[in-house]
């Protein structure tokens, strides 16, 4: 069956040369945020990698995650979608509709029982099933059926990972995340609103290459991409450390590209790869465009106080402990960001 071909065979059939293959491996090693010394290990694994079947289920979502995914700028993505993975169900991208589409999904699930990768975007409403259903079947039922024989589940986007915007107070649909419903399967969370396209493909490529899940953090996110805060990797960090802040969006500090902390930047408590992987073919990321980070890859980012309120205001009241740390010097930065993150979480729990 076509899905069981190795990637090495597929590329050879397409006339990809050794140098082409090496280039491919160098690119995806970088894409997976692995050290360059791993290229030869990646090449070895990839030659023998089997093409996995992928089923993508969209629930309460805005299609932003799919938009992001299909705009990954690497050419390997076309090959990733069409050659390296077998995308057997994705209701926005597939040609089939109605019964034919559902039939294709069931066939793929049956043929690849226990081996297919289930991708989910969107949250699942537990209130009225009618809030979001496909072919008259509730999102919850779709998820539970597809999850039963999946090898692993990837929650794409903040909605699938944590409930996201549909779950924002007062959560009218009773939205929950995939991890709230599924407890007996490995789940990889790839949050972000939307997630960075290269991060989505990086996670899929990891599964394709090594046949295993990447190392995950306490929120179920791949450490390779979510191991550091945006603040840790921000090119404006030097201004934070020196206590140079923009106070308004049009003051001298803003024009000079100083730190956006006082304008509500959530980078110190947000784990994501925006500052290095960047967006729009590596052009920039929100802070580089002069806007504070909204913290979209964190749980309940919508309910964490105002986007333009400094973290110190939402977490500590007006005393600005974190800000004082920033002005005091670099050494305190990471520790206080961690403290802020913990305190913010506690404050959040206390307010609920």
């Amino acid at each position: 069956m076509a899905t069981r071909q190795t990637l090495g065979e597929i590329l050879e059939q397409q006339g990809v040369s050794r140098r082409g293959f090496m280039k491919f491996c160098a690119t995806i090693t970088s894409m997976m945020a692995l050290p360059p010394s791993m290229v030869s290990a990646v090449a070895q694994s990839l030659e023998n990698a089997k093409r996995p079947s992928v089923i993508w289920l969209p629930f309460q979502e805005c299609t932003g995650c799919t938009e992001s995914f299909t705009r990954s700028h690497s050419p390997t993505v076309e090959s990733l979608i069409f050659n390296s993975i077998s995308l057997d169900y994705h209701h926005t991208l597939q040609a089939a509709a109605g019964h034919a589409a559902e039939e294709a999904k069931h066939e793929a699930m049956e043929a690849n029982k226990g081996e297919y990768l289930l991708l989910v975007d969107g949250s699942i409403p537990l209130g009225n099933a009618g809030y979001s259903c496909i072919a008259g079947i509730s999102n919850e039922e779709h998820l539970m059926n597809a999850a039963e024989h999946a090898a692993a589940i990837v929650s794409i986007g903040t909605c699938a990972a944590y409930g996201g915007i549909p779950k924002a107070r007062p959560n009218p649909t009773g939205a929950v995340a995939v991890r709230d419903l599924i407890k007996d399967k490995p789940i990889i969370n790839v949050p972000g609103c939307p997630p960075i396209p290269m991060v989505i493909t990086g996670v899929l490529t990891h599964f394709l290459t090594f046949g295993s899940l990447p190392e995950l953090d306490h929120e179920g996110r791949p450490v390779a991409f979510f191991g550091q805060t945006i603040h840790d990797r921000c090119y404006r960090r030097t201004f934070y450390d020196r206590g140079l802040f923009a106070e308004t969006f049009d003051d001298e500090g803003a024009k000079k590209g100083w730190c956006l902390y006082k304008l509500g930047c959530k980078a110190p408590t947000t784990y994501n790869a925006c500052a290095t992987v960047k967006w729009n073919q590596g052009t920039s990321f929100p802070i580089e465009s002069g806007h504070p980070c909204l913290g979209c890859s964190e749980p309940d980012f919508w309910d964490k106080g105002g986007f333009y309120e400094p973290l110190s205001a939402t977490a500590f009241g007006p005393s600005s402990a974190l800000l004082a740390a920033g002005a005091a010097g670099a050494a305190l930065g990471a520790a206080s960001a961690y403290a802020a993150r913990r305190k913010q979480k506690k404050a959040q729990e206390a307010s609920e």
């Binding site: 050794r18 090496m22 160098a26 050419p75």
Partner: protein, 139 residues
């Protein structure tokens, strides 16, 4: 009612683009250490530039600092790749493009010759075989 012309407009000079965000210097040091290692032990190093938090204009400044040496190799496989020896022998700036000329990966390789440039034995063998067949066909 006042018109749009009544709104004052002030054009300000842009922020000087030579501002340092502090990334160029450490990478140059890393390259130097890699060169020392290559000299002492023969061990090559690759620095993935995608993992660097470059500020605006910093990558260009890094390129300037590395300069351009004598050799530029263009590779045509799954889109173009440019392999440029920098002003410091053994330091190569490797940029992989896709078929739409977008950058897929970018790295500094500190090595005698980047691995991707070398012809491998398997390729040598199949090339020799093709040439042999060509020559046999001609006679």
């Amino acid at each position: 009612m006042s018109g749009i012309d009544d709104i004052g407009v002030r054009i300000e000079p842009p922020v000087p683009d030579d501002h340092s965000y502090g990334n160029v210097q450490p990478i140059l040091h890393e390259v130097l250490h890699a060169l020392d290692r290559l000299l002492e032990t023969g061990e090559p190093t690759t620095i993935d530039l995608r993992s660097m938090p470059f500020g605006p204009g910093e990558e260009e400044r890094l390129e300037e600092a590395l300069g351009t040496g004598e050799i530029t190799v263009t590779l045509d496989a799954m889109g173009e790749s440019r392999i440029v020896e920098c002003a410091f022998p053994g330091v190569w700036l490797v940029t992989h493009y896709n078929s739409h000329e977008e950058i897929m990966a970018r790295m500094i390789e500190v090595t005698e010759v980047p691995e991707i440039v070398r012809a491998e034995r398997r390729e040598l063998r199949s090339g020799a075989e093709r040439l042999r067949q060509d020559l046999t066909g001609r006679h």
